[in-house]
Point group: C2
Chain length 227, copies 2
DNA sequence: TATATTTTGTGATTTGTTTCACATCAATTT
DNA sequence: AAATTGATGTGAAACAAATCACAAAATATA
């Protein structure tokens, strides 16, 4: 049965990503060990929160000794399946799609856009290093590269239709840039990125002059946001 | 004092945006009245949640009669300061910046990118309808157009430096696309958009075959996500 | 006008998340 | 070897968010 799947990254997972980025930086600087309060300082949370988050993901340090950075990163890579490569497809090679197809950080993080797709034959001329195919080659590519996750950058009006097609061909997760709530089967993960909403809420909060910061900020805080 | 400002849109605010999009669609279809359970159905939440959210933002309906769509949208416009225009600047006219500068939905929602900026003189040739200036004209433009919110699409390495400059010139809110935690004064709102993290978490959840859906989905749910 | 019906609005309750407080362990010092 | 120190890990407590349950209000019906 198809239904609206609202999917929001859990805050603890968001924080884990922050810790990881921080650990990568520290390792680059030659640091080998880290304490929960170091990570806490760098990421604007409390040290208990760091330890609780780690414990949620089954990560253990050594008492008194803190955490070994290499060890920690290795465990995280396993948790996030970063030891394997992940093949992605990108649908819609318009303004946004083109930018995304050129974004090098995806590759650095083992996520490869193996092909992009567009209905517009004009766009199907190679626009970046990655080939641009017409939609009728979707199944072939998805099967060949065992693609499970897609990036959807088509206009609002086509988003549902394209999502349906993706799912028919075996896609299980979609990062959706179109400002619509997609109706999908229960086992499909949808992450909606809505830049207008993002901007509007910044404007909203700027107008209220309210914010959340690392050093837990006052009564206004919990009235209006969560972290 | 500068510090890490972690800012996450409150879920109730996210839902309000969903309701609004839905109301706009309904109005377009000629519908005039709406009940909490209609909105709930369309957005994948419960009707109590809709009413609680409305009450948080001080929105009242009429018992038995539901809500008047025009009235509701008007109230929301006021809450989100959508009756006025909001001028924005966009810094970094690379791949992503160019795409964003061409995004028409911002204007449709009363958010105007009045100018874009880049240090690269090559990019300073007009790349879209909006002018591309060098950074030394930032202050002039921000002052002239009373800009309070900026979109930051520069490389990771320059993000903090550019953010500092923006804030010196009076910017109070930033939507940041660079994958770094910016250190800013307490009264500045930062919203981080991290596409890699977004993709990685979809991959993570796809691997776990876990999802949240509108019809509250069992034990697996609360173990891993929140909505 | 009285009664039934429908939908809102909100206290009370449940569920989830963060912070607190401290036992536990490992390393260092005496 | 014992005492001290400094960090982790985790139940308990505090806090926040979502759901439940129902009174109150508005409308429809008899
Ligand atoms: N441009 C931005 O910065 C931006 C920002 C946020 C969100 N978005 C959203 O991302 C989506 C794409 O935006 P854009 O600015 O790149 O639009 P665009 O019009 O430039 O590109 C859309 C592309 O999708 C293709 N397309 C249309 N229907 C298709 C179909 N059925 N199958 C395959 N391809 C199809 C078109 O040919 C076009 O190339 C939109 O939903 C938009 O709202 C864009
Ligand atoms: N391209 C994408 O799809 C994408 C996706 C997610 C996140 N991002 C992030 O967004 C940012 C921009 O990405 P991009 O792909 O557009 O990069 P890019 O290199 O194409 O563009 C960056 C632009 O910023 C300009 N710039 C550099 N330093 C500057 C400074 N000090 N002041 C003003 N302008 C400066 C450069 O001249 C360039 O035009 C990066 O932080 C990237 O990680 C990009």
């Amino acid at each position: 049965m198809k239904q609206i799947t609202k999917y929001i990254i859990k805050n603890s997972l968001k924080r884990i990503f922050l810790y990881r980025a921080c650990l990568v930086r520290l390792r680059l600087m030659g640091v080998e060990k880290v304490f929960s309060y170091t990570l806490a300082n760098e990421t604007g949370v409390t040290s208990e929160q760091v330890r609780k988050d780690f414990s949620e993901f089954g990560i253990k340090g050594n008492k008194r000794g803190g955490y070994d950075i290499n060890d920690l990163l290795e465990k995280m890579e396993k948790i996030f399946h970063r030891n394997k490569d992940h093949n992605l497809v990108l649908i819609g090679m318009g303004n946004l799609g083109l930018a995304l197809s050129k974004y090098s950080k995806f590759v650095q993080r083992n996520m490869n856009i193996v092909a992009t797709f567009d209905i517009d034959p004009f766009k199907q001329k190679q626009r970046s290093d990655i080939p641009v195919y017409s939609m009728d080659r979707l199944k072939e590519i998805v099967d060949r590269f065992r693609v499970k996750v897609a990036i959807l950058a088509v206009p609002e009006i086509s988003a549902q239709e394209v999502a349906d097609k993706l799912i028919r061909h075996g896609i299980k997760g979609i990062v959706n840039f179109a400002p619509v709530l997609l109706k999908v089967p229960q086992d499909v993960i949808i992450s909606n990125v809505n830049l207008c909403d993002e901007l509007e809420s910044v404007i909203y909060y700027v107008h209220k002059q309210i914010k959340v910061d690392g050093l837990k900020n006052l009564e206004l805080l919990y009235k209006d946001m969560k972290y």
